[in-house]
């Protein structure tokens, strides 16, 4: 498995473990009247810390186990896959930002808008990582 595919898997794991519980809890509390700003920031802080810990910890373990592979610079295939994956993520982020910035302000406010923006960012990053994995697996370039 290519080094950058391993990093993409790690990022996917970090995001799923960190942010799925966050969005689930936020959704549940929003249905019951909405969390306070303090509660929202606490949940977000925990989710982000979990994600960062998984990514940094996982990367350190991988670097210790696969030192030579980790030091290899990106080659033309890595760069092609990164570019294509980023273009998919850009489209997803663009769509998300249109919803958050142009539609939500007319019907929502405060934390709901911030949370939707966060969701768009996480979704775009998830799409980028999934596109990387699929490109390495299926030869998508």
């Amino acid at each position: 498995m290519a080094w950058r595919e391993k990093l993409a898997w790690l990022a996917i794991a970090g995001m799923l473990i960190g942010y799925v519980p966050f969005f689930y809890l936020f959704g549940r509390e929003a249905a019951a009247g909405g969390p306070s700003m303090g509660r929202f920031l606490l949940l977000l802080g925990i989710a982000s810390a979990v994600r960062v810990a998984i990514e940094i910890g996982g990367r350190l373990v991988l670097m210790l186990r696969l030192g030579a592979q980790a030091r290899e610079p990106a080659d033309e295939r890595d760069r092609a896959i990164a570019a294509r994956s980023s273009s998919f993520a850009y489209l997803a982020l663009l769509a998300g930002m249109i919803v958050v910035g142009m539609f939500m302000p007319f019907s929502q406010q405060g934390i709901a808008i911030v949370n939707a923006a966060l969701f768009a960012i996480v979704a775009a990053e998830l799409i980028r990582c999934l596109a990387i994995v699929l490109s390495y697996r299926l030869g998508w370039q």
Binding site: E76, R77, D78, G139, Q141
Partner: protein, 71 residues
């Protein structure tokens, strides 16, 4: 160009070059072992520059490394 796909003779050329490994070939042409494997499996079409580098390593023409095959 529909109905045709690009194939390559990398595996055979590596064999005739003293069982050159994918990692060795990758080092000579400036890509990773995984990328050489992807090229060999037809999962990645290299840039023209890399294609010429591959042909150069084996001392053959480009058309002896890559060719079109009917689907």
């Amino acid at each position: 160009m529909s109905g045709r796909r690009l194939t390559n003779s990398l595996r055979v050329l590596r064999f005739h070059a003293g069982e050159m490994t994918q990692a060795e070939l990758g080092e000579k042409i400036g890509v990773t072992r995984q990328t050489v494997a992807a090229i060999e499996q037809g999962k990645y079409s290299p840039t023209l520059e890399t294609a010429f580098r591959i042909a150069d390593v084996f001392g053959v023409g480009l058309d002896e490394v890559f060719r079109w095959a009917e689907e």
